[in-house]
């Protein structure tokens, strides 16, 4: 029973983080800021949802597999984000900035 409630809470938090990430993906002004929003969904959202599933699965092989999925996500997500941001910078994108850019000489 307590485990059920914990699972509910965890999945709810994860779903909220994922929705916030999706919303940020729409609202943010440029690629780099969008990566920040997406990483909320990728790490916090995925982590809490998988934790919720783990509570439901109990101590079994299923939980171990969920842990493995989480480990793979956590190891690959930052590498993909880093590659994306680096490619965007090398591709000539200038990060959006609140302050107006220095006037060209």
């Amino acid at each position: 029973m307590i485990v059920d409630i914990l699972s509910w809470i965890s999945i709810g938090i994860g779903a909220a983080f994922i929705l916030v990430g999706g919303l940020g993906l729409i609202r943010m002004p440029d690629v780099f800021t969008r990566v920040h929003a997406a990483s909320v969904a990728d790490t916090a959202g995925a982590g809490f949802i998988l934790l919720g599933f783990m509570f439901q699965a109990g101590l079994s092989l299923t939980t171990l597999k969920l842990v493995l999925i989480f480990v793979f996500l956590v190891f690959t997500a930052p590498t993909a984000s880093h590659a994306l941001a680096r490619a965007a910078l090398l591709g000539g994108l200038v990060p959006w900035s609140r302050k107006p850019r220095d006037p060209a000489p």
Partner: protein, 159 residues
């Protein structure tokens, strides 16, 4: 050799978790596959302290992961509040943060930790530091205080 043995144990453990069937025949086949995978890895020359960092295994890494998890949740909440606020309160900055790690592996752990934390994103790893894109000026200042840098150096330091 120690690395190859440890790689074998790790891969066989992974195979056991994914398989779920434990008859003698299948266990033997799994062992054969694992030996083949280790042999390929040895031929590729990736079984060293960098490709298979067994010297990091200890009590420090779980402690660091726990600390990092708390950081991730806290900064995810911060970024979530920014996204939900009607006026987007963002002030993105791109600056280089000093990194005190000695080895490439330590640098990679630091850069990955920065990217994993919502609100900060490493864009380039250079000789004198890590170039970071932060969502807010405040996030960049927190990173520059060096708490994460110090912890990563401690984790790396035992080698």
């Amino acid at each position: 050799m120690r690395h190859a043995l440890s790689l074998f144990v790790g891969l066989y453990g992974l195979w056991l978790v994914l398989s779920g069937h434990y008859t003698p025949f299948l266990l033997a086949m799994g062992a054969a596959c694992t030996v083949f995978a280790v042999a390929v890895a040895l031929r590729m020359d990736v079984v060293d302290h960098e490709g298979h960092p067994m010297h990091l295994v200890g009590y420090r890494i779980p402690l660091y992961w726990g600390w990092l998890t708390i950081q991730i949740v806290l900064s995810a909440l911060q970024v979530g509040r920014i996204v939900l606020s009607p006026r987007l309160r963002i002030d993105p900055v791109l600056e280089t943060v000093p990194a005190s790690q000695k080895s490439d592996l330590g640098r990679v752990i630091y850069a990955n930790s920065i990217t994993l934390t919502p609100g900060t994103l490493s864009t380039s790893v250079t000789a004198d530091g890590i170039e970071v894109h932060a969502l807010t000026r405040q996030g960049m200042d927190e990173l520059k205080q060096g708490g994460m840098d110090r912890r990563v150096t401690q984790v790396e330091g035992e080698s």
